[in-house]
């Protein structure tokens, strides 16, 4: 078994590496996300969430969309993770590890049940539809210039709206969170 594994590996090594390059970060992503969800200590949960963001970024890069991967790393790891961590610090610094912080009664079990029925349904559709069985086509890559052209070309309105939305969110978050000093 090992020998033919080696044979396939030597036959077209770059393809194999290319494939593993996607599966490995995806595994890390799933493990980190699972751990983040289950973790009792909030700070550990936030750090594992950051790890899952990084893994997601690497998956994007592996799939050829470098620009999006870097944007994901920059925005999520740099900013969103920090906002989450800061809000944890500001709200609940003392009783971090004590409470189980699960909903009272049987609500948590119900929530998890709902989630997994949805998962089962999704997987059912995925593995039944013919569309999804296509093999991976040639390694495509989205050059930054093309993305730039598209953004400035037919998606320019969306870009401007996104800008306005972000400024509004910035100002809104600041006003909400500001201490209402007299």
């Amino acid at each position: 078994m090992v020998t033919d594994f080696l044979k396939t590996c030597c036959a077209d090594p770059m393809k194999l590496i290319g494939e593993w390059f996607v599966i490995l970060p995806a595994l890390v992503l799933l493990l980190a996300a699972a751990a983040a969800v289950v973790m009792r200590n909030l700070i550990h949960a936030a750090l594992l969430l950051t790890l899952s963001f990084i893994a997601l970024g690497i998956v994007f890069i592996a799939l050829g969309a470098e620009f999006v991967g870097f944007v994901q790393l920059l925005v999520y790891v740099g900013a969103v993770a920090m906002v989450i961590v800061f809000s944890i610090l500001l709200t609940k610094p003392d009783q971090l590890t004590k409470s189980r912080n699960l909903l009272s009664g049987f609500a948590p079990a119900a929530g998890v049940a709902v989630a997994f029925t949805a998962l089962a349904a999704l997987l059912g559709f995925i593995f039944s539809s013919p569309l999804a069985k296509k093999p991976m086509p040639a390694p495509a890559s989205a050059p930054v210039a093309a993305i730039g052209e598209a953004l400035m070309g037919d998606y320019v309105i969306a870009l401007i709206v996104l800008g306005i939305l972000l400024t509004a969110a910035l100002v809104g978050a600041a006003v909400i969170a500001m201490e209402d000093k007299p």
Partner: protein, 397 residues
């Protein structure tokens, strides 16, 4: 085998790979080996630069203060890094009992990773770029964002009041200085039309009037964007006027209070390698990367020029560190949001006008105005509260 001093490193690499190839090593293993060699040399160069600067910083600081600096270990104190290294490794590595030891242990690792990853996209010589990414600058900032997570982990992991306060300050500082840093870097990308560093360096080639190098730093908008980038680089690597997190005089050692031994050495190393990386980026964006300053100086190989410029910028960082007192946290943030950010927008605008006004003398005047006027207005508004002259002192006989 070595055609010219200019491409000496690349020829050595190809010769070695050819040698291996002749032993019948398959192609893909060769690719991996060449990647490992490049990584090895880069990390070797930057770690030796780190070792050198850890002693040169103390010697330059000493010379500025009219004293000798370390000169006991080895000739002119050059073996000092070895001495420091041994000291750091042999020191006991204590972890506070109530500390969150996983986070405490991981922080230096997470700090070191971005510092080394960032070295991948800096063009060291004429065609010596380890990773030819067309979104190189974005990669630089994306990976650089990892240091904030590491600083938080260091602060939180040591479970000590001082370090949490220090970590909070460091992150607030890093985030507020990241914005002007990104914008001033994007300015050069806009002018040279691409996000890849080697394209930016080649856009700075050529000489105006025969001998003036067309580096971006020598244009009005380039000078302002470069200055903003330099100031933000100081803030990003927590150095000199912005070394608030390790504000000795206030919170002892900020988020590094509970670290000792090898972990502290890793933080130290990460800070210096990070400093050199951001110096390299500054040189690439504004000082024309590996371009020679004068046309006839091309005989000196391009990677020597790059190394020289990086060492010069690192020297200025040490020089600034020796002179300026530390900024208070609210001044630091106010300076970033109220001065640097508007100035980087002004630099952005002036670069656009410079480009569309045909880059002629008129364009120079226009861009100088667009950058100069906000500088004077904002600057005076900022310092009006503290002008020295208004403070009068009465004397009595």
């Amino acid at each position: 085998m070595i055609s010219s001093l200019e491409s000496a490193p690349i020829d050595v690499l190809h010769w070695f790979l050819g040698l291996l190839g002749s032993f019948g090593v398959p192609a893909w293993i060769l690719a991996i080996i060449s990647a490992l060699i490049i990584i090895g040399t880069i990390i070797g160069v930057f770690l030796s630069l780190f070792a050198l600067t850890s002693v040169m910083e103390r010697k330059i600081l000493a010379r500025v203060q009219n004293r000798y600096g370390p000169n006991r270990a080895g000739p002119f104190g050059l073996f000092q890094p070895i001495a420091d290294g041994i000291k750091m490794i042999t020191k006991e590595d204590l972890v506070p009992r109530t500390a969150d030891w996983i986070v405490h242990f991981l922080a230096p690792v997470v700090m070191m990773v971005p510092a080394l990853l960032v070295l991948a996209i800096i063009p060291y010589g004429r065609d010596m770029v380890p990773a030819e990414l067309d979104a190189g600058i974005l990669y630089f900032f994306a990976v650089g964002a990892g240091t904030e997570v590491a600083v938080f982990m260091a602060g939180w992991g040591s479970n000590n009041k001082y370090s949490v306060l220090g970590a909070m300050r460091a992150i607030a500082q890093m985030i507020s200085y990241e914005l002007p840093l990104v914008i001033s870097a994007i300015v050069t990308a806009m002018i040279s039309g691409s996000l890849s560093p080697s394209a930016i360096v080649s856009a700075q080639g050529g000489f105006a009037f025969g001998f003036v190098p067309q580096w971006f730093a020598l244009t009005p908008w380039g000078f302002t964007a470069g200055l903003i980038f330099y100031i933000c680089a100081l803030a990003e690597s927590n150095r000199s006027p912005f070394d608030l997190p390790e504000g000795e005089s206030e919170l002892v050692a900020g988020h590094l209070t509970e670290y000792s031994g090898f972990k502290y050495a890793t933080f130290f190393m990460a800070e210096y390698v990070g400093m050199f990386a951001i110096c390299g980026m500054f040189v690439t964006l504004f000082l024309g990367g590996w371009q020679a300053p004068l046309p006839f100086l091309d005989i000196i190989p391009s990677w020597c020029w790059f190394l020289g410029k990086v060492c010069f910028v690192a020297f200025t960082m040490i020089w600034v560190r020796a002179t300026l007192p530390r900024l208070r946290i609210d001044h630091l943030l106010a300076f970033a949001w109220k001065f640097l950010l508007p100035m980087s927008f002004a630099a952005f605008l002036s670069a656009a006008c410079w480009h569309y006004a045909g880059r002629g003398p008129l364009a120079w005047i226009l861009s100088l105005a667009i950058v100069g006027i906000p500088y004077l207005l904002l600057g005076n508004a900022f310092t009006n509260r503290f002008s020295v002259s208004r403070r009068t002192y009465l004397f009595s006989e």
